[in-house]
């Protein structure tokens, strides 16, 4: 197999266009936000996410500085594997919120590694098909001043 993982054809939708934004909460705190979708034909439980890594302009964003929001709930990346009752629908956007230092306006290289098991495509005990929902794009950052939610 040339590809170790299954890849569907929706890769261009994973990093949602125009969604990269720097949100300033007051003078000293800001977060980088970004909406993402699954590259799959159906939704998945968050527990199925097996690999997650976000790179901005080539630098890894430490996963401890990332929060994933879905349906008004928020999860640390290392909590995701427990979330078998949190379903990420195939039409739903999840939001990544990253706590970073200053980020310049303009274009940025966003590179997301996002792999998950397909929870019904069982090949052997404990072995499921791995879907590669990774994506990479140059995205233009906009800045939002925000108070409150």
């Amino acid at each position: 197999m040339p590809t170790k993982y299954m890849i569907l054809g929706y890769g261009d939708h994973v990093l949602c266009d125009d969604s990269l934004r720097l949100v300033r909460h007051g003078a000293k705190h800001q977060s980088l936000m970004l909406d993402v979708r699954l590259n799959y034909y159906r939704g998945l439980h968050l527990s199925c996410i097996s690999e997650f890594e976000l790179r901005l302009d080539g630098r890894v964003v430490p996963s401890g500085n990332v929060i994933l929001s879905l349906h008004g709930k928020e999860f640390a990346i290392d909590e995701l594997s427990d979330q078998y009752t949190e379903f990420w629908g195939v039409k739903d956007r999840a939001t990544l919120e990253c706590f970073l230092g200053p980020v310049a306006e303009g274009g940025h290289d966003v590179d997301l590694t996002l792999r998950f098991r397909s929870p019904y495509m069982k090949f052997a005990p404990g072995v499921y098909a791995t879907i590669d929902g990774s994506a990479r794009k140059t995205m233009v950052l906009r800045t939002i001043e925000k108070a409150g939610v």
Binding site: P2, G9, G43, P119, K122
Partner: protein
């Protein structure tokens, strides 16, 4: 036309616009299906719901309202247990059984009469049939590629169904198990992904002559086609997009225990022919068996990123009508 066979359409057929088109939803599918004269449908929970395996109450209410508004009937619910959703362990059979009861409850809430469910070990069949009857919902186990009806496992279920002789359990053969040759849309897709036409033709010609995938890949490279697209093409034609002689005898054997069909297809051309799957022969066998029930159209063109579901579904229905009218 043979009036013993009626038609439904799985909303799965609309995967491409459902995923891609902003604002596109079930109402659009229903409006289209009514224009086609179709009122029965299958809905796949994991695809159509934003909460699964149990949809939000408001999702169910919304679906019931749409049924009402468009005069649609949910024929079948595509449930199925995600036995791998809990990190670090597989669900055991008892858990799968319990989740299957959840699927029955969801099917009941949305008003479906059939559940496309998850296959449980043979000794669960009596309990499953009992609950199916209690809920008033027939449970079908899909026969899906790469399984074939003649496979020992399927034949064991057939025997068990015969022994149990319950109207509440049976098969849902998916016509994707009868792909005899690659669809032209698959070939186009492989070429769009960078494969040379020669690679595709060579892999197809050598798929069933006793060679391994690796041998054929070596041959293709020797022909000067060593790109990633060429590699993908060989891999897909030996793997996920495989094809081969159709198991018509096996199909004949399972018909007596079949609840309905997944009319899987990849491309119906302007002459109303699906070249990959022999619908003439298959529908002939269905009618010959005396089967009464439903062909559930299941278009899978999104595999090739094709946004032509409406046209293809319409052609598929027209093709089936045309074939049945001649029988």
């Amino acid at each position: 036309m043979d009036r013993r066979i009626d038609f439904g359409v799985s909303l799965y057929s609309f995967t491409q616009p459902w995923y891609e088109r902003p604002g596109y939803g079930i109402a659009d599918m229903f409006a289209f299906l009514r224009k086609l004269g179709i009122s029965q449908y299958e809905i796949v929970g994991a695809q159509s719901f934003d909460q699964y395996p149990v949809p939000r109450p408001e999702t169910v209410r919304g679906l019931l309202e749409l049924n009402e508004r468009y005069g649609m009937t949910p024929f079948s619910y595509g449930g199925g247990v995600d036995m791998g959703k809990i990190t670090g362990r597989d669900m055991d059979d008892e858990e799968i059984f319990r989740e299957s009861l959840n699927d029955l409850r969801v099917a009941q809430r949305i008003g479906a009469k059939h559940l496309r469910g998850t296959m449980l070990p043979l000794d669960y069949l009596p309990r499953l049939a009992e609950f199916a009857e209690r809920f008033g919902i027939r449970i079908g186990f899909e026969i899906h590629a790469p399984s074939r009806p003649s496979d020992a496992k399927i034949q064991q279920y057939l025997e068990a169904f015969d022994k149990l002789d319950s109207p509440w359990l049976g098969f849902v053969p998916d016509f994707g198990i009868f792909i005899e040759r690659p669809s032209p849309t698959l070939k186009e897709n492989l070429e769009r992904r960078g494969a040379h036409r020669e690679t595709v033709e060579h892999a197809i010609a050598n798929r069933h002559v006793g060679k391994t995938e690796e041998q054929v890949w070596q041959e293709v490279q020797a022909m000067g086609h060593a790109g990633e697209g060429d590699h993908i093409a060989v891999s897909q034609l030996f793997g996920h997009q495989s094809f081969g002689p159709a198991d018509f005898d096996g199909f004949r054997s399972v018909l007596r225990r079949t609840l309905y069909f997944h009319g899987k297809f990849y491309h119906v051309d302007e002459n109303l022919v699906e070249t990959a799957i022999d619908y003439d022969r298959l529908l002939g066998l269905v009618v010959e068996s005396g089967f009464r029930g439903t062909m559930m159209t299941e278009y899978e063109g999104h595999s090739y990123n094709l946004d032509d579901a409406e046209e293809q579904v319409a052609r598929h229905i027209a093709m089936q009508e045309s074939i049945l009218s001649k029988l």
